[in-house]
Structures are given as C-alpha cells and as structure tokens.
Amino acid sequence: MKRRKTILTLLAVCLLIAGFVAGPRALADDDERGEGRERGERNERSGYKYTVPQLPAYSQECGSCHFLYLPGFLPARSWEALINGSDKHFGEDLALDAAAKTELLAFLTANAAEKSGFKWSAKILKRLGNETPTRITELAYIKKEHRKIKEPVFKRPSIKSRSNCGACHPHGSQGDFEEGAVVIPAK
C-alpha cells in the first residue's frame, strides 16, 4: 500500500515536470493559437539560428533611433527607395552624407530579402507582388502575423509603437522571431 502511494506520487511528479517542459513548446509550435497570448516571465531563445549581417554604420545611423531591422525584411528595391529618400524618412531628414548612403545601400541590398537566407524573407516576399514597400510594420505578412495583437498592446509604455520589435521579440536582433521566443510585456 505504501509502495503504491510512492509510485503514484512519483508518477504525478513526472507528469508535472513533463507538463512544464513540453507545454509551452507545444503551444509555441502552433502559429495561429499562440498569437495574442501574453507571457511575462519567459525569455528563451527558440531553436532558430541565423547569422545577422552586421555593419557599424547601419547600427549607428539606423539603430540609434529604431529597431535594427534585418536587411532580409525588405527586397533590394525597397532599401534603394529608403536610402534614396533618406532626407524624407517618414518626415525626418536623416542627414546621411553621400559616403554613408553608398555604404548603407551596398550592405542592405547585398543582404536583402531576395538573398538573405533569413527564414522570414521568403514569406515576406511571397505576399509582396510588385510593390516597393518602405514601412516594414505595414508589410502584408507582418500584419497578418500580428493581427491578433490589439492596438492598445502596442501603445503600452514599454512598447510604444509597432516598430519597437525588440520589446516583444527580445531575440529579434539575433534574427529569432519565432513564436516561442515572444514575450509581451504587461505594461
């Protein structure tokens, strides 16, 4: 009788541990169900590995103001439009000199969605058609993926805007935008 109780207890403990380990993963694998769910504590990387192309000028000129979007988020023609229009960058003059423009454009086009090898590039391109988008947050694929996140969530003080990718994708700067690595801050 005592032995049976011990076995039952052990079984219960094993189930509990299995639930903790497998539960979040099982949920995370489900692309549709997972969205809109808010997790405050977890901050784990998914298994996805990607070597993010780096350029100091890109980090300084672009990453000082906003999330350092991976070049693979946009096709080359979009990066051309952005850099050539950098004096009117969503209403702001970025004050890029000719040398900076050349350097940035070479880097961005060389690593653009068509040739990046970044997991989400193909998905973004597939929904593009002939457009030349410049607003990453408005890309059809990105909008679809965030459709279940309500607008007030983006307005939370620690998030502030849709372009603050890193607020909810803590490993986004390393290219990890997997569902399982998302943490939506509560405030």
């Binding site: 000082s64 906003h66 702001e92 003059d93 970025l94 004050a95 998030i159 372009s163």
Partner: protein, 146 residues
C-alpha cells in the same frame, strides 16, 4: 621653518581641493576643443559683441519646445532625451538612448563628426533648420557642465 613648510603644503592642497570642487564639469578633448573654437569664431563673426558660450543658455535651449509646422506636435530635445541629460532617453518609437551628459556617458561629445551629424539630424527634427554655431556651442557647454 618646518611649521611654515607644513602650512604651505596645506595651503596648496586646499587650493587644489577648492579648484576640484568648483570645476565639476568635463573637459573636451583636443578635437572637440577645435570644434568649439570653430563655433566660437563663427558666433563672433555673426555677432561681434558675442561674449562666449553659456551653459545657462544651453540649458534653456535644451528645454525649449517648438511646434513642428508639418506634424503639428510640440518637439524639443527633451522629447527624446528627457529633461535630465544624465538620464537615459527614448526615441519616439521606443528605442533607448544612452545619457547625453559626458560625465555619465564618456563617449558623448568626443567625436566632432558624430556631433555634427547628430546636430544636423536632430536640429532638423526639432527646429526644421540647422542649429547655429552659437546654439551648438551653448548646448555642448551645458552638456559638459553637468
């Protein structure tokens, strides 16, 4: 004689101590000093009666707000940098900005090209024009004084 020597040593120490207390700011490096000198020369050319940069005026400039003609919103340095340059700031889309005060953030105001670049971008964002050499000199003087 020994007594006199001790008094002298104490006096010198006191002078150094007082100087250290009075001078709390950060000294610009050689390159930044050259940039400040060029601002000063330009400011004096524009206004022959110009007396020199003022941290007070720089502070007022830093805290001033202005209505943007196209965006119809009040903008100022403090929109992103907060009213205390020793604090971290945040851009309008939520990216953290390291403190502006060089006493807190040693990298600030050490590279003239970077300083000029950001004046150009941010003066245009706030004032819809470039900043004048006088404004830039006052601004840096204020930052160095913190």
């Amino acid at each position: 004689m020994i007594k006199y020597g001790a008094v002298m040593v104490l006096a010198v120490a006191a002078v150094f101590f007082a100087a250290g207390v009075l001078y709390a700011g950060v000294q610009p490096n050689k390159e930044m000093q050259a940039l400040m000198d060029s601002y000063l020369a330009a400011a004096m050319k524009a206004d022959p009666g110009f007396k020199g940069f003022s941290a007070e005026e720089g502070k007022a400039f830093f805290n001033a707000k202005r209505m943007h003609s196209a965006n119809k919103e009040e903008r100022g340095c403090t929109t992103c940098h907060t009213t205390n340059p020793a604090n971290k700031g945040k851009t309008t889309v939520g990216k953290v900005i390291e403190p502006m005060a060089p006493s807190i953030n040693k990298e600030r105001f050490t590279d003239p090209a970077k300083v000029e670049k950001w004046f150009k971008r941010n003066c245009s964002w706030v004032l819809e024009r470039e900043c004048t050499p006088k404004e830039k000199g006052n601004y840096i003087t204020y930052m160095l004084s913190i």
